[in-house]
C-alpha cells in the first residue's frame, strides 16, 4: 500500500512545486543585483566608501543620529545607542508590520514615527534630504546582510504588490514584470534592464546627482511608461516595496549603493 501511495504523493508534490516555480519566474531564475549590470568604474565607486558620493548623506545622517532634538530633547542614540548595534539588520527586514497601527510601515515612516512620538520633533518630509540622510545611515547598518521578508501578516500586502507588479500601466501599457521578470538582461534603448531589486536603496544615482529612495526609482519607471505615478506615501508604493523585498529575499543589502 505504502509503495503505491508514496510515488503518487511524490508526484503531486513535484507537480505542485513545478506550479509554484512556473507562477513565479523571478524565483526560478537566478537573481542578480543591479550592481552586476554596471560598468567596472561605477562598481568600484560603490565598493569604496571614500568614492561613493552617498557617504556624504551617511555622514549627515550620523550627525543627526547623535543630535538631541524636538521637545523631548532626545537623540536617536539616546534610546538606540550605537547604530552599528541598535540598527543592525533593521533595514533588511523593512517594510515591517506595525501591530499598533495594524499596517506595514516603510523604514522612512518608522523613522518618522520615532521623530514625532519619541523625539516630539516635526516629521521629516518624505524624500527630503534629512530623511534620505537618516535612512541611508540606518540602512548602512544592514550592508551585506540578507533581505528578510516573511512576516505572514504582510501576506495580503505582498499579494497586492505582486498584482501591481503584473498589471500593465500607462500609455505604453507595460507591466513591471514584462520588463524585470521577462526581459531582464535585454536592452531598452541603450540601457540593460536589471531584474529590478530593491537591495541598494536609498542609493546614489549618477543621473539624479543625488541619493534617492526606492520610491523615486519606482516613480521613474512609472512615468517612463507614461503612467501617473502613485504618491510618495500611497499604500500601493508600500505594497510594491513589500513584494520587491520578498522577491529579493536572501539577497545581500548594498545600501547605500550607486547606480548609473
Amino acid at each position: 500500500m505504502a509503495n503505491e501511495v508514496l510515488p503518487v504523493a511524490l508526484l503531486a508534490s513535484v507537480l505542485a512545486l513545478a506550479g509554484v516555480l512556473a507562477a513565479s519566474p523571478s524565483l526560478s531564475a537566478e537573481r542578480r543585483s543591479g550592481y552586476e549590470d554596471m560598468g567596472p568604474a561605477i562598481q568600484a565607486m560603490q565598493r569604496d566608501d571614500a568614492q561613493n558620493p552617498a557617504t556624504l548623506w551617511v555622514k549627515e545622517g550620523e550627525l543627526m543620529w547623535g543630535t538631541r532634538t524636538g521637545r523631548a530633547q532626545r537623540s536617536c542614540a539616546d534610546c538606540h545607542g550605537e547604530a552599528e548595534r541598535g540598527m543592525k539588520g533593521v533595514a533588511a527586514r523593512y517594510p515591517a508590520f506595525d501591530p499598533a497601527l495594524g499596517k506595514p510601515l516603510t523604514l522612512a515612516q518608522r523613522i518618522n514615527q520615532c521623530r514625532t512620538q519619541r523625539q516630539r520633533a516635526e516629521a521629516l518630509a518624505p524624500e527630503s534630504d534629512g530623511m534620505l540622510q537618516l535612512e541611508s545611515f540606518v540602512a548602512l547598518q544592514s550592508r551585506g546582510m540578507p533581505i528578510v521578508q516573511q512576516d505572514p501578516r504582510l501576506q495580503t500586502h505582498r499579494d497586492r504588490g505582486e498584482a501591481l507588479f503584473r498589471q500593465r500601466l500607462g500609455q505604453l501599457n507595460l507591466s513591471c514584470a514584462q520588463c524585470h521578470d521577462e526581459r531582464a538582461g535585454l536592452r531598452l534603448g541603450g540601457t540593460p534592464i536589471p531584474q529590478g531589486h530593491p537591495n541598494g536603496y536609498p542609493l546614489y544615482r549618477l543621473e539624479w546627482q543625488a541619493v534617492g529612495s526606492l520610491g523615486r526609482r519606482l516613480r521613474n519607471c512609472m512615468t517612463g511608461v507614461r503612467a501617473a505615478p502613485y504618491a510618495v506615501d500611497a499604500p500601493e508604493m508600500t505594497d510594491l516595496e513589500i513584494f520587491l523585498k520578498w522577491r529579493a529575499r536572501g539577497m545581500a543589502m548594498e545600501s547605500p549603493a550607486v547606480r548609473p
Binding site: 500601466l169 500609455q171 507595460l174 540601457t191
Partner: protein
Amino acid sequence: MTGAMAASLGAAFALLLAPGGAAAQQADEPGDPARGRAIVASRQAGLCLLCHAAPIAEERFQGNLAPDLAGAGKRWSEGELRLRMMDAAAFNPDTIMPSYARTEGFNRVAPALAGKPLLTPRQIEDVVAYLRTLQ
C-alpha cells in the same frame, strides 16, 4: 493561406469590429517617409528604438526587445504595417508593442496624455511610408 496572411486578416477583422476602426482613423494624405524616419528615430515621438533596432546609424542606443526593423517593408505590406502600428495585439495578444492609435482602456495614464493616442493618424501614415522603404 499563409500564417502571416491569416494573422493580418484576423487583425483587420478585429479592427473593423472595434469602434472607430482602421478605416475611420486613417489619414487621407499619403505618408512622408522622411517625416516617418524622424518619428521612428525620436525617443519622444516614436519610441521605436527603445525596443527595436533600425538602420538609423546616427542613433547609437537601440533596443533589442523586438525584431530589427531592417527589411520590415519586404516582410509586410502597407496594410499589415498600418495594422501593426494601430494594434500589434491583434497579431500577438501578449505583445509588448504599444498601440499607437488607441486612446482608452489603459491603467493610470499620465493625466496630460489622457485621451490622446501615441501618434496621430497622420504620423502613423508617415511611419508606414518609412517602413515600406526598408526593403
